[in-house]
Homo-oligomer: 247 residues x 2
């Protein structure tokens, strides 16, 4: 039967064949027709092919990526909050960072077929942007869906389409070489107060070396070192796990 | 007229006088009655007075703070995205960090009266947690509003109640003049020893937040925040100029 409320767009506007291809790809990725196709077209434009607009800004997906990153962060924060009512905020933050880190998002982007819609200049592409091309575009797509369909629909896309089919949450949580979350969990069970402190930041010409210290019930334990605060804390946590026989 | 759909709660449950006080304070802060008061009660519980639940977790507002932080980040991201259609994502990220940094949130928390609802143990409170007590509780309150009333209502609270009345966005955005050079010039004239130190680097996924501290003759003065060392020093310099009346 012919739909009664056929979108005005499809009556008054005829799409180019490139646009039609994009719509088909989007329907398969998002599971739904776009309302405002322009948003999605912008989401596919990597900065390497950005054209300047009349207002002095480049027309690339970077602003949408910024928005999508924040929306994705909020949705994942709530997902973990609801799924793990008895885990504390330190562990939830830690699990979240394993889901939304650059590598994980890039893999997710590849899995859902972002490679079929992203447009970029292969010659200009640096090795850095290559590592995050699909992940960045995925975030831009999330920004576009949010603006096009609102928070609830965007959340549904992230949880029901993106994660349900392409992310093994249990695997992410189980696969835990992470000493920091081990020690957090241990401290919680033992009812001990745990604190990490960055006690030194050594600035070299091309990098910084961080020194982190673990405190349990106010008493300093192990020092850890690394090129980021996170790595230094991980190192300090590993040493603490060994020293206190934390499994 | 008697409301037809009076909430079940108000028929079956009588509130304690402490709960009634909290409801009145919440109505003034949030501008709306809570549906699930338990969420808001939890949001007011600082970790210093946290009681252990039967499931091995502490009943404090820290999980709600984690959630509220993510929701606030998303709402501010969109607000700036819409308000500044011609600013690039780097600038938006920078402005966002000026709005949601620890000090700014703490001030906002104080302004809307978080001090009237937060419960904490003044003896256990460390100097660190004091600096963020109101800001952290404000984030927990945002988490509670989100769970209680959903994303749209929570976004409305943040934009219409929190920011519209208590945050001067234009002031935040106004380009800073160079405060660091002012303070350097002043120190030279006054023959004082001036030092800047990066005291903290918080690493997020897509950016780092730097905290810089100004020392004059070895004495620590103001903290500043920013997405680069330079910006954090600029922010710390501005505060020092205000504090010391440096023209």
């Amino acid at each position: 039967m012919y739909p009664i409320f056929k979108p005005l767009r499809s009556i008054f506007k005829s799409y180019s064949s490139k646009e039609k291809k994009l719509i088909i790809a989007l329907e398969s990725i998002v599971g739904d027709k776009p309302y405002n196709l322009d948003l999605y077209k912008l989401a596919t434009q990597h900065s390497s092919i950005a054209k300047a607009s009349g207002f002095g800004i480049k027309l690339s997906n970077e602003r949408l990526e910024y928005l999508g990153d924040a929306i994705l962060g909020a949705v994942v924060a709530e997902l973990l909050f609801q799924k793990f009512p008895f885990k504390d905020e330190g562990i939830l933050t830690e699990i979240r960072s394993r889901i939304v880190n650059r590598e994980s998002l890039n893999n997710l982007g590849k899995k859902i077929g972002i490679n079929n819609i992203v447009e970029f200049d292969a010659h200009k592409k640096t090795s850095l942007s290559h590592k995050s091309l699909y992940g960045d575009t995925l975030e831009a797509l999330i920004g576009a869906i949010y603006l096009d369909k609102g928070f609830i629909a965007c959340k549904k896309f992230i949880i029901k389409k993106l994660f349900a089919h392409h992310l093994d949450l249990d695997e992410i949580i189980k696969d835990d070489p992470n000493f920091k979350s081990r020690i957090i969990e241990w401290a919680q069970k033992q009812n001990k107060e745990l604190k990490f402190e960055t006690v030194e930041i050594k600035t070299e010409k091309n990098y910084k070396e961080f020194t982190s210290q673990v405190f349990i019930n106010g008493q300093s334990l192990c020092n850890g070192f690394g090129l980021s605060k996170k790595k230094a804390e991980q190192d300090a946590s590993q040493k603490t796990c060994v020293q206190l026989n934390i499994p």
